[in-house]
């Protein structure tokens, strides 16, 4: 859905695509294409992860947006770690599903979704950085934004105790509790699904070994041995089919449900961060209130001002947050639905094809002449 009123973005959010990725040493470069609104003109730019980071920092650090902290920011995937030594398992540990698939395919899809989500966000798509990012031939380069207040590292340990701070609003307390629960569940489910997919890939490798070993069993010396060789060859073919089946099934898993679960997990975490920011504002407000009450009369007016500002900020954030929460919960079910359907359809199609192949093998086996 493209809501571009007042937006400086002249592009259609749903048309944003990452069409290519190239690796140079340790750096990945992504080719991003998008279409201008209402025309068939397209734009193509090349960006690295640093550029994405720059964009994200810009979005998070905007100063002129009221209640910015109430926004659930579309989650940017973590930095990709391509490595010459092909240490895929390390990448998988860090990035989970996003590191799997050929040639960073899943990662690109995740980035693509990120851009689409940002471009579709009615507040965020007004940011000029987005337009710059998507259309400027030159990359934003090494412009360094000041570190946003949303730098994850800044939510340091000493602030963690604020997480459990009791809320004044039943709605929000409830949301925080549910979110904490769901975030943990989705994270766990994603990890477990990853294990399942990895197990399937291991099985594919095993089947490949079996198939190859059988192929090497062939000997042609003796008429009786020939019959056995034919059987070994047939079995080798069968296991080749089994291997392919596993590979495709794992691939289906990765590219649909895997990606979907990963996305949902990160989005839940983004919601969590937003709720935490709001809680921090609440803590500030309450502490400002206490200071005001305790202030000596000569300081009271000044403290009042501080308190009023904090209150205003908190109210703004809360109202933006409420909207964002409704929006998020409305859209996430649809997103999960489409991933689940996509997954199911792919697996169904693969299962049918495999079924047909096994059936053919069975027929062929029955016809193997018994010497």
């Amino acid at each position: 859905m493209d809501s571009n009123e007042g937006s400086s973005l002249n592009l259609s959010a749903s048309s944003i695509r990452i069409t290519d990725v190239t690796q140079d040493g340790d750096t990945l470069t992504f080719a991003i294409t998008s279409q201008k609104l209402g025309s068939s003109d397209g734009v193509c730019v090349f960006r690295t992860f640093e550029d994405f980071d720059w964009l994200h920092q810009n979005l998070c650090g905007q100063e002129d947006v009221p209640g910015l902290q109430g926004i659930i920011f579309p989650p940017l995937p973590a930095k990709p770690t391509p490595s010459q030594t092909h240490a895929q398992s390390k990448a998988v540990k860090q990035l989970g599903f996003l590191a799997m698939g050929n040639n960073w395919k899943i990662y690109c899809q995740a980035l693509e979704l990120y851009l689409q989500q940002v471009a579709a966000h009615t507040t965020l798509n007004k940011n000029k950085a987005l337009d710059n990012f998507l259309t400027n031939a030159e990359s934003p380069g090494k412009q360094r934004m000041r570190k946003g207040i949303f730098n994850r590292l800044s939510q340091a340990v000493e602030e963690m105790r604020k997480e459990n701070h009791r809320d004044v609003d039943e709605f929000f307390q409830n949301k925080r509790d549910r979110n904490a629960n769901l975030t943990a569940l989705y994270k766990g489910t994603t990890e477990r699904f990853l294990e399942v997919v990895l197990a399937k890939q291991r099985l594919a490798v095993d089947c490949g070994h079996f198939s190859t070993s059988l192929y090497l069993c062939v000997s042609q010396d003796d008429p009786a041995a020939v019959a056995f060789s034919k059987i070994c060859l047939k079995l080798s073919e069968i296991f080749e089919t089994v291997k392919n089946n596993f590979e495709i099934v794992a691939d289906n898993d990765l590219s649909t449900l895997g990606l979907g679960l990963d996305l949902e997990t990160r989005y839940q975490e983004a919601e969590k961060e937003m709720l935490f920011r709001r809680t921090c504002r609440l803590v500030e407000l309450e502490s400002a209130s206490r200071s005001t009450e305790k202030a000596k009369p000569n300081r009271r007016a000044a403290m009042e001002e501080v308190k009023k500002a904090a209150e205003k900020e908190f109210d703004l954030v809360s109202s933006v947050a409420k909207e964002e929460i409704q929006r998020f919960h409305g859209s996430r079910v649809g997103v999960l639905r489409s991933f689940l359907i996509g997954w199911c359809e792919k697996q169904l199609s693969t299962a049918k094809q495999s079924s047909a192949l096994f059936s053919q093998h069975l027929e062929a086996c029955r016809e193997l002449s018994e010497d």
Binding site: R178, N181, L182, L185, Y186, G188, T189, R192, F193, E195, V196, A199, K200, R202, L203, D206, C207, H209, F210, S213, L214, L216, C217, S219, D221, D222, A224, A225, A227, F228, I231, C232, K234, L235, I238, V242, V333, L336, R337, L340, I341, C344, E345, Q347, L348, A351, K352, S354, S355, F358, S359, H361, L362, C365, R366, L368, E370, D371
Partner: protein, 525 residues
């Protein structure tokens, strides 16, 4: 469809609607009842509908490795003899290697066993051909030969503590006239099987026959059983052994010469067998060590035979190569089985997570879809489990069997070489005796001369006899190898077909799972 409807593999539907019932689980009926299969302890008789008793089907071999924590078993089968099917009733027969024998020719030499199949006894329907756990087998159409079907079932623990042992029911159904009746069964223990092997080996190996090796002993496995742990691993061990004993007997009776041996008949028929002793040497590794030592000794003697044709040398080389290859294959399949079990575990774990998600989500349709997904994954886990069994029992055990069989084949070649050596040695002795005679003639000692002449004729006779033995064993070995190779090809082919049938069934159930889930996913709003 409750996911907890039991962990049994699908039962075997009545054969009339076998084709119609595609192993699906979503007909609404609970397909896990009705055809009970003992899960833990026995692979014994299915409690199918009364008309359809099958003693000789491949019984629930794989069920033993399934987890039983998913709720009550359908069959309260901790009692191994619960099936209550009397072996003497008319039954559909169905065994792995049904054997056909023609009894008109001489038992030893030149007995061409034609490998066609066997007619089912008059029973109209095909016993559960398709649905048997992992090892189903289709009975082919028959000729008009005699038949013999064997099944090993009903493991039962006898005795207590460290003196405990398992007995197995050995049931035979046959039309061979040499047996006293057409259907009968006895109970045997493992050492009885080993004793049978020992007797057969002692008699027949010398003549170059390939005597099938018995299943391996296992101290660890047996100790667990003795100690009385009624747990999964000892149940799996018992099941594995039962299946191995069955295959062993089937191979023995499919050997045209061995079946004629009265020991075999006695083993199958006699109520009580004298306890076999000296079965210590026959543990699996012991057996192999014995073979290897023999072959090492032979090699060190560097018997260089003057072969008329290279067939024997080439064939021995082939056999040795094949043994190595099969060992490698076995290792690969082992790894496959283990990884598949890991997949089961991961899938179950994942399913639990999804179930928790389902109960935490607010949105009703999403929550419902997730719960359905958890059930789908549970079913997948079950399918993976069955497939692991299939891998194991169909391939891993087959390969292991053949590694040991090839060892027995090598043994034959070695016997032949020993026979040749005996003949050569006799010729040498004869030569010496002749030289002695010549010396005596020259020294003219007439009294010793007669003795020398006698010895010469004795050794001439021996040389002739050994030469004939050597020729006979050569012919036998050649025939045996041919027979063995045909049997091997047939065995493997049947296994592949069984495996594929299982795979296909499994895949079809996967299709059904996804088809059932799709509307649930689409219903999310």
């Amino acid at each position: 469809m409750a996911a907890g409807s039991g962990r049994n593999p699908p039962p075997f539907p009545d054969s009339e609607d076998q084709d119609a019932r595609d192993g699906d689980s979503d007909d609404g009926e609970d397909i896990f009842t009705g055809n009970n299969k003992p899960i833990l302890t026995t692979s014994a008789l299915k409690q199918s509908t009364p008309d359809e008793r099958e003693l000789f089907s491949e019984e629930g071999s794989c069920t033993a490795v399934q987890s039983s924590d998913k709720g009550p078993l359908d069959l309260k089968q901790s009692d191994p003899k619960a099936n209550g099917v009397d072996s003497d009733e008319e039954q559909d027969l169905f065994s792995e290697a049904t054997v056909e024998l023609s009894l008109d020719s001489d038992s030893r030499e030149g007995n061409q066993v034609t490998r066609s199949c066997f007619s089912e006894p008059s029973m109209a329907r095909l016993p559960n051909t398709t649905r048997k756990s992992m090892e189903e087998m289709k009975e082919e159409e028959s000729g008009d030969k005699f038949e013999l079907n064997i099944a090993v079932t009903n493991p039962e623990k006898m005795g207590d503590g460290m003196n405990a042992y398992m007995t197995y029911k050995v049931s035979t159904q046959t039309s061979l006239p040499m047996f006293r009746s057409r259907t009968f069964s006895v109970r045997r223990r493992f050492s009885d099987f080993l004793g049978l092997y020992e007797k057969l080996s002692a008699k027949h190996t010398l003549h170059g026959y390939i005597v099938p090796p018995p299943p391996e002993k296992s101290v660890v496995g047996m100790t667990k059983v003795k100690v009385g742990k009624e747990d999964l691993s000892s149940a799996a061990f018992v099941e594995r052994r039962r299946a191995a004993l069955e295959r062993y007997l089937q191979r023995v009776v499919s050997h045209p010469s061995l079946i004629q041996d009265p020991n075999v008949r006695e083993f199958l028929e006699k109520d009580e067998l004298p306890r076999a002793v000296n079965t210590q040497a026959l543990s699996g590794s012991g057996f192999l060590k014995m073979i290897n030592k023999a072959s090492d000794a032979v090699n060190k003697m560097s018997i260089k035979m003057n072969e008329a044709d290279n067939w024997f040398e080439n064939k021995l080389q082939e056999v040795e190569n094949e043994e190595q290859q099969l060992r490698k294959l076995h290792a690969v399949v082992d790894s496959l089985v283990n990884h598949r079990k890991e997949l089961c575990g991961s899938t179950a774990f994942f399913a639990k997570s999804v179930a928790m998600l389902g109960s935490s989500e607010d949105n009703t349709a999403l929550s419902r879809a997730l719960s359905q997904l958890a059930e789908v994954e549970d079913k997948m886990e079950q399918l993976h489990q069955e497939q692991a069994c299939s891998d194991f029992f169909i391939f891993a055990e087959l390969l292991a069997d053949y590694v040991r069989l090839l060892g027995a084949v090598r043994n034959c070649f070695e016997q032949r070489m020993k026979t040749w050596q005996k003949w050569q040695d006799a010729q040498i002795t004869l030569q010496r005796k002749r030289e002695t005679e010549a010396k005596l003639l020259w020294a003219s000692k007439p009294d010793k001369l007669q003795q020398a002449k006698d010895e010469i004729s004795e050794w001439e006779a021996k040389v002739t006899q050994y030469e004939r033995e050597f020729e006979r064993i050569s012919v036998t070995v050649r025939k045996e190898v041919h027979r063995f190779e045909k049997e091997k090809a047939r065995d493997f082919k049947q296994s592949i077909i069984k495996y594929l049938e299982c795979l296909l069934r499994s895949q079809q159930r996967v299709v059904k799972c996804w088809e059932a889930f799709l509307p649930e996913a689409k219903a999310i709003s």
